[in-house]
């Protein structure tokens, strides 16, 4: 079976800082892949590269077998197919939650608010935020804001969702509600790639866990194996530090 998203020898540096040093990643349709590793190991940069927010230096990114990393390629159509949620939510503060969600489908697909209304309202309903649609971001809790950000990405009907440490900026008591959304999403069969520090969550739901270290995937495997019986010293050291 061909991978839905694949990178081969992906390299990315910022000046002399070589963040990704040849990453080979394969994600099949419907899979949930968790990227773990210390801060600065390249998880976030990898996700930004996958969404073409950062151009890569070398290597290729294949989406459904097509090279999307050709320099000069128009990134917009690709970004519509790959949704992304950020650690710091990045909602548009001057719009209500509902307008935040409506903006991209309206402008990119040229649909009216009326056409989009039912499906968008259904998304809010599904993730328990129906009564928060008219609120502005600063009137919402961190957990609610992050759920709105997820809805905003989902409204573009992406094939893949990227999550960049989306619970790291939340108070501990708010992490659960966001993870619940991910659980729900998992049930729908959404292909997901997460950079995360939530090892319990990764163990519970991931199909594959990749341990990033020094800009490469140092070790990967099924969550149970990798998290309980890591084969390599560095993986073991990292896990013993955070568990």
């Amino acid at each position: 079976m061909m991978a839905l998203l694949e990178t081969r020898d992906l390299r990315k540096s910022f000046g002399n800082n070589h963040v990704c040093r040849g990453i080979d990643l394969e994600v099949e349709a419907g899979q949930m892949v968790c990227l773990i590793g210390a801060s600065g190991s390249g998880k976030s940069t990898l996700l930004k590269c996958l969404n073409l927010l950062e151009p890569i230096d070398d290597g290729v990114i294949l989406l459904d077998g097509q090279d999307i990393s050709i320099p000069g390629l128009d990134p917009q159509p690709v970004r519509q197919r790959i949704g992304m949620v950020f650690q710091s939510f990045n909602l548009f503060p001057h719009m209500t939650a509902r307008e935040n969600v409506l903006l991209a489908p309206r402008r990119v697909f040229g649909k009216s608010r009326a056409e989009l209304g039912p499906s968008v309202d259904a998304l809010f309903e599904r993730f328990g935020l129906a009564d928060r649609m008219a609120h502005y971001p600063d009137q919402l809790s961190g957990g609610q804001q992050q759920r709105v950000a997820i809805i905003r990405a989902l409204a573009m009907d992406p094939e893949i969702m990227l999550f960049d440490e989306i619970t790291s900026a939340l108070d501990p008591e708010l992490v659960g509600e966001v993870l619940d959304v991910l659980r729900q999403l998992r049930e729908t069969g959404m292909t997901m790639i997460l950079a995360t520090h939530e090892m319990g969550f990764a163990r519970e739901l991931a199909d594959k866990v990749c341990f990033l270290d020094a800009g490469v995937i140092h070790e990967e495997g099924a969550p149970e194996e990798l998290l309980t019986h890591p084969q390599k010293d560095r993986t073991r050291a990292f896990l013993s530090r955070i568990l």
Binding site: P77, N90, A104, R107
Partner: protein, 270 residues
């Protein structure tokens, strides 16, 4: 029931108010009592603070001030628009649009570097000097153009800092949703940037309200020129004081309001 702390703070506040009031009163009394002892005071009082002249000219000044208000009212939106366009032109990245960017940079550099009065003279006398037919030789038109050109350069810089001040993560979020660069600017960056620089722009528009008086040098009989007419007529400077008071009646509340908006914004950010 008030706490010990509240009682203490109230006591301190009362004392501070008393001291501030007392010292203000002392300074004020000193001025009122001492200035009349200056040798030229009777003459100054007669030619600058003449109640009869004031009463006689004030309605006429107010009337002339309406012209200032009108010029301000039609200049301000044009300045806002041109300033915004210039700021956007400075932000373009397409190579084909480079001349536009270059022009915008030159424009802001030149018009921020030349005194307003010079621009008013050069545009206000120079362009009608081309022998344009009526009404295209009107000093109202070219005076307005001079003000718009000058102030739009400042407003453009304010907008530009506003645009640059919006965090990169907002652009990233918009891009990740597949929004185009133009849509990102229009729906995500600009609405936030414009709001952010409202206080800074208000200060510029307050300055504009005052500089409208400079148009009197090329013809329009607005308040400053009207005061000059009264001065010649009555051989008395009181009309200038009247004009100053009228300006202050507008600019002080406007300045206070701008400060209030700014402090509110600072509070919201922390």
């Amino acid at each position: 029931m008030i706490t010990r702390r509240q009682a203490y703070e109230a006591r301190i506040r009362r004392r501070a108010t008393l001291v501030a009031g007392g010292s203000t009163l002392a300074v004020f009394l000193a001025i009122v009592l001492l200035v009349p002892f200056a040798p030229g005071w009777p003459a100054v009082k007669k030619s600058f603070f003449n109640a009869d002249v004031f009463a006689e000219t004030f309605p006429g000044l107010l009337n002339a001030f309406l012209l200032d208000v009108a010029i301000f009212a039609w200049s301000a939106p044009l300045i806002f628009l041109l300033g915004l366009l210039v700021a956007l032109a400075r932000d373009v990245r397409a190579p084909a649009a480079y001349p536009l960017k270059l022009f915008a940079i030159l424009y802001t550099d030149i018009f921020r570097g030349v005194p307003v009065i010079l621009v008013i003279y050069l545009v206000g006398f120079g362009i009608p000097g081309l022998g344009l037919p009526r009404p295209w030789n009107s000093p109202y038109i070219w005076g307005t153009v001079a003000l718009v050109l000058t102030y739009a350069a400042y407003v453009a810089e304010v907008f530009r800092t506003g645009i640059e001040g919006i965090h990169q993560s907002q652009r990233a979020a918009a891009a990740s949703l597949g929004l185009s660069g133009a849509d990102t600017m229009r729906f995500v960056i600009l609405p936030q940037a414009i709001r952010k620089v409202v206080p800074a722009n208000m200060n510029l528009f307050i300055a504009l309200q005052k500089d409208v008086a400079l148009l009197s040098f090329i013809g329009p009989v607005e308040i400053f020129r009207q005061a000059g007419v009264y001065k010649s007529l009555l051989a008395n400077f009181t009309p200038y004081v009247g004009a100053a008071l009228i300006f202050l009646a507008i600019t002080i509340p406007a300045t206070r309001y701008a400060d209030y908006l700014l402090s509110k914004q600072m509070k919201a950010r922390t």
